[in-house]
Amino acid sequence: MWSYQKRLQYPVNIKKKDLRMAKYLVTQYGGANGELAAALRYLNQRYTMPDNKGKALLTDIGTEELAHIEMISTMVYQLMKDATIEELEAAGLSSHYAEHSRALFPTDANGVPFTVAYFATTGDPLADIMEDMAAEQKARAVYENLIDLADDPDVIGPLLWLRQREIVHYNRFKELFEYYQTKFELPNKIEPRQD
């Protein structure tokens, strides 16, 4: 189970409304490489990891991704807060307003809604962990695109921080991948799967 802490993992305090940035940033909430996809991908894959090492890492990184969903959601919320209907229309967000008013909704930067197809899972630990490594690299690349598009230090700071988390997670997954490679792929070390 999980317990909530009433705080962000890293502080977010955006004072300047910026609907353009909100529209881009939402992809790290509901896009293919976003935090929601990451959290659900890892927390879904962990059940069929072959040992407690893999189950622990996917649980702990998946849990941290939940905290990143909250950071990104907070950023999108603060960027859109107090926007008038005219401002939303000018930013191309009137269709968002029609569907969701000022509520958050997980989509990518083009407004395509989140889908569970984003959390690829095969049940093969090597394939799944390799997928997770790629996911971290793609999320890092998207954070870099977003940093390029941003001009407010209050936005750039948390984006730099979240980008760095992708790098750490990538390296942890890579270590686990190499461990499983040795454990399962080397000759004479192949162990039967539990199924």
Binding site: S3, Q9, D60, E64, I156, L160, I167, V168
Partner: protein, 168 residues
């Protein structure tokens, strides 16, 4: 152990957690892999360990406890967080320690036999728990297991939620 530096005391009239702009020349951490040159107070786990640990304070602003894994983006420097009052100061202290413990948690998932890091994890875990209790005692509950909830009326709503003004 001192987790603060003089940056905690500047800009005292500013809004919460002001970030410095990114105009200063960048420090390229990548050239200093496996060295504590950026981090004179950094704890080095052991001579043969592949990790070069930053202090909880340095790690928290970077989002990375591991100096050898840090990769700077272009010339962007990590934002420096400034605590402007006692509440922010105590909160940052907790957030830094909790982050350091979390980073070691992920590392230990892969390397459960690293005795030095197990010890360090427990140091940070203990200090983070103490810092959390001290914060909650003064400013209200962050966690639903807080002793501060043993009061009337119900205290869980005392602190604002993180996305709202005054939230952390």
């Amino acid at each position: 152990m001192n987790y603060y530096d003089e940056r905690d005391n500047v800009n005292s009239n500013m809004m919460p957690f002001d970030r410095q702009t990114f105009s200063q020349p960048a420090v390229n951490m990548n050239q200093n892999n496996n060295s504590n040159i950026n981090n004179p107070n950094g704890i080095q786990p052991s001579n043969n360990s592949p990790v070069a640990l930053l202090t909880p304070q340095e790690a928290f602003i970077r989002g990375n406890l591991f100096g050898n894994l840090y990769q700077q983006y272009k010339n962007y420097k990590p934002a420096v967080l400034t605590a402007n009052n006692e509440q922010q100061r105590m909160y940052l202290n907790y957030a830094q320690l909790a982050f350091a413990a979390h980073e070691l948690n992920l590392y230990l998932d892969n390397y459960p036999d690293d005795r030095t890091i197990v010890r360090l994890f427990n140091d940070y875990r203990t200090m983070a728990n103490q810092a959390l209790r001290a914060y909650e005692e003064k400013f209200g509950p962050i966690t639903i297991t807080s002793e501060q909830l043993n009061q009337f009326p119900w205290m869980w709503e005392q602190l604002n939620f993180p996305w709202d003004e005054g939230g952390i």
